[in-house]
């Protein structure tokens, strides 16, 4: 750990966590979390005063170990806030914005959602058409967003809108924090192939946002959004799993406990997928080692791709393996859900929900382009829309 001040080594942080625990009552969840944030033990790699200590990111594990038995965050409901909004606010927010938003975001007092995709702007996010027009110290926002998880209980959203249609598409965008309680924000559940509604459509009609809710410069929205999206991909692909854990663990458990379901064909395919799951897990472990050794590699770009195809293949095998039981489904009821429940639901749900893994957070096709161009240095396809004003693009 060279080049790091003595004050921030593993032992010091452990001592701080122990001292914190001794001085605070975990019985009051919210007060405990607020105090933990104020003590810099929320995310130690954030700056002091913003829930962190300016310490290396990997030392967060030390805190988590010490505070394992205390109130925890709801990483499902808070996922967008913690994984996407927070790093973006930290990177591009003003001092006021960081001070205003990060604490309640972390404690879960305020939930966040993401207003990026639109019916006409999916993979080609930069072509989005939601307009933000300046009116004095305010912006007036009109448009429609989609695939917004948690919009119905969110206090805030991260929003990308078009502020200058005369510029080419990447340049006329601006990034905002949207007040989800503002008049003109309407949230409608969007039913998915699983039967439930994890996502929403959000209609924005004459929504007035103060200019102090702008994140980054006017016209700089695309660059700000990149920070958000890079963090999303890490969040989707980067969690550690133990050997034989995760989705492969679910299928393996069925396999072990139900010998009557076994066939030779399924066995061969299961073994093949087990190997793929294991090498993918190892690649993730190697990537995390590289990150903590301060040598971030390009491998991260690929983790989500692997995770998506593996989840889909495994969950498909799980349904097929169960035979007659695979013909059923646990529950088609149209209801809202707050998070992906891979392990609490049946195999049919897992199979259907996993279809989204290669679409959400960048389709696998777009991710392959990213790997090919940014990692392998291959040329991009000729672009016809790069220098054309957004308003003149064919649609």
């Amino acid at each position: 750990m060279k080049g790091m001040s003595v004050a921030l080594d593993e032992e010091t942080i452990r001592e701080r966590a122990v001292a914190f625990l001794a001085g605070h009552d975990p019985g009051d969840r919210l007060e405990f979390l607020r105090a933990r944030f104020d003590a810099g033990l929320a995310w130690v790699h954030f700056p002091e005063g913003l829930g962190g200590l300016g310490a290396p990111r990997e030392l967060q594990n030390v805190v988590e170990r010490e505070l394992a038995g205390t109130p925890q965050l709801d990483t499902g409901v808070q996922g967008i806030g913690l994984g996407m909004a927070a790093p973006t606010i930290l990177t591009f927010g003003t001092e006021e914005q960081r001070g205003r938003f990060l604490r309640p975001l972390w404690t879960g007092e305020e939930i966040w959602c993401q207003l990026f995709s639109e019916p006409g702007a999916g993979s080609d996010l930069a072509t989005l058409g939601t307009r933000a027009v300046r009116d004095g110290d305010e912006w007036v926002v009109d448009g429609q967003k989609v695939w917004t998880s948690g919009a119905h209980h969110s206090r805030w959203a991260i929003l990308v809108a078009r502020t200058d249609p005369d510029l080419p598409k990447h340049r006329g965008l601006t990034y905002f924090v949207c007040d989800m309680h503002a008049p003109g924000v309407e949230v409608r559940p969007l039913r998915q192939i699983t039967g439930e509604a994890e996502f929403n459509e959000v209609f924005l009609t004459g929504v007035r946002l103060d200019d102090s809710l702008r994140l980054g410069e006017v016209g700089d929205g695309w660059r700000v959004a990149q920070t958000t999206l890079m963090n999303e991909r890490v969040a989707i692909g980067g969690a550690p799993v133990r050997r034989g854990g995760g989705m492969v663990g679910v299928v393996a458990e069925t396999w072990r406990s139900r010998p009557e379901l076994r066939t030779h064909d399924l066995h061969q395919r299961l073994l093949r997928l087990w190997v793929e799951a294991e090498v993918t897990r190892l690649a993730g472990a190697r990537l995390r080692e590289q990150l903590s050794a301060g040598q971030p590699g390009p491998e991260g770009s690929g983790m989500k791709l692997s995770f998506a195809s593996l989840n889909q293949a495994l969950s498909g095998l799980d349904v097929e393996l169960r035979g007659e039981e695979g013909l059923g489904y646990d529950d088609w009821t149209f209801r809202r859900s707050d998070s992906v429940d891979f392990f609490g639901r049946g195999p049919g749900y897992r199979y259907l929900r996993a279809k989204g893994n290669s679409i959400e957070g960048g389709t696998s096709e777009i991710l392959r382009n990213i790997v090919a161009e940014r990692v392998l240095g291959l040329p991009s396809e000729p672009r016809v829309d790069k220098d054309v004003p957004w308003k003149d693009l064919p649609r």
Binding site: R256, L271, V275, V279, L282, E289, S306, R368, P379
Partner: protein, 366 residues
């Protein structure tokens, strides 16, 4: 444990790579494969004696470097990247692993680069199916073993027979090179007709095959990396329809998928090397047995994955090079032949996956 490369490993890699760049370019390899001596024994001498790769696995007490499977794996990556025609895998990995733990006098001579040894089992043998058709009576061996890699350049053959392992002077055997799919690691038929053998007590052929299979994955990684890098350079240069062919999405997506396969191959190969390095020379307690089992599982994962990845990347390399990829002149066929041969060598991907049925507790149907 770490899945990364240590500084020492990177230094070793650099010295091997420099030597190979100097002495083992693809033109030189191509010229050699049809000559009378397909193995480059001058290069092998330099590698084994001056760089000292032959003694990596040999314990220090027998004059070796006392290094581990991790360093060996790095050497194999580089040898794979150059499809170098040297008997490192067969002598310094397979044969040496069989002797580790025996304290046999051959170990010191192997480490010094004085002898080259081959384990006289078919290169297609797997750790899971005991090989051997050689019989032994009173230390005299008879029988035939086909498809032995590295035998025609070995001074000594290690022959499994009657449950033991015997050292036989190559001069006392008939070793007949045969036309081989892999031009850079040809195989031979070994025939023993009442050949005198010296029994080596405590040798472990199965362990040698597990170690060989797990580390062959690193050689396959090197093959895959060369194929990926060479293809990448080619499709950036090659223009058709007034564009680099590498700018077409149909090509880019395939390259992205191959890259992802190679990223995972690297993690799998490193993991196998790391866990094989942790297996004690002689496992006597429960911890040793657990380490051996972890090494075996990691080897099975790495060999099954890396075999298929090396082959897939080599096949795609031929395809993406277009017509030039079909020519004898372009070296990519050497890599395809190496990849296809190593798919079979030391257990096919399917054989290793079958082993995982037990190792990972995924039992076969009754």
């Amino acid at each position: 444990m770490t899945l990364l490369y240590t500084e020492v490993e990177e230094e070793l890699r650099a010295s091997v790579r420099d030597l190979l760049a100097d002495r083992c370019g693809s033109d030189a390899v191509l010229r050699r494969v049809e000559s009378a001596s397909p193995y480059d024994m001058d290069l092998w001498k330099t590698l084994s004696r001056e760089i000292g790769v032959a003694g990596l696995l040999v314990p220090e007490e027998y004059g070796g470097a006392g290094a581990s499977a991790r360093e060996v794996a790095v050497v194999l990556e580089e040898l794979g990247r150059a499809v170098a025609p040297v008997p490192f895998l067969t002598s310094s990995v397979l044969a040496t692993s069989a002797l580790i733990g025996t304290g046999d006098e051959l170990l010191g001579r192997l480490a010094a680069g004085e002898v080259t040894v081959a384990l006289a089992v078919s290169f297609a043998a797997s750790p899971y199916r005991p090989a051997g058709s050689v019989t032994v009576r009173d230390g005299v061996l008879s029988g035939q073993v086909r498809a032995v890699a590295g035998a025609d350049v070995a001074d000594v053959l290690l022959v499994p027979a009657g449950g033991g392992l015997y050292a036989v002077d190559t001069a006392d055997a008939t070793v007949e090179a045969v036309a081989s799919l892999d031009l850079t690691r040809p195989i031979a038929t070994v025939t023993l007709s009442s050949a005198p053998g010296r029994e080596i007590a405590g040798a472990d052929v199965r362990r040698a095959l597990v170690t060989g299979a797990g580390l062959l994955a690193s050689e396959q990684l090197g093959v895959a990396e060369w194929c990926l890098g060479t293809t990448l350079a080619y499709i950036k240069e090659r223009h058709q329809f007034a564009r680099p062919v590498g700018s077409f999405q149909a090509i880019k997506h395939r390259m992205a998928d191959l890259w992802l396969d190679v990223v995972r191959a690297r993690a799998a190969a490193r993991n196998a090397a790391d866990l094989l390095a942790a297996v004690p020379h002689i496992a006597t307690d429960a911890a040793g047995a657990a380490a051996a089992e972890a090494g075996e599982l990691a080897a099975a994962v790495a060999k099954s994955w890396c075999s298929e990845v090396a082959l897939r990347v080599a096949e795609e390399a031929v395809q993406l090079h277009g017509g030039i990829g079909m020519t004898w002149e372009h070296p990519v066929h050497l890599y395809l032949k190496r990849a296809k041969s190593t798919e079979i060598a030391l257990g096919t991907p399917g054989a290793h996956r079958d082993a995982l049925a037990v190792l990972a507790d995924l039992p076969a149907p009754a």
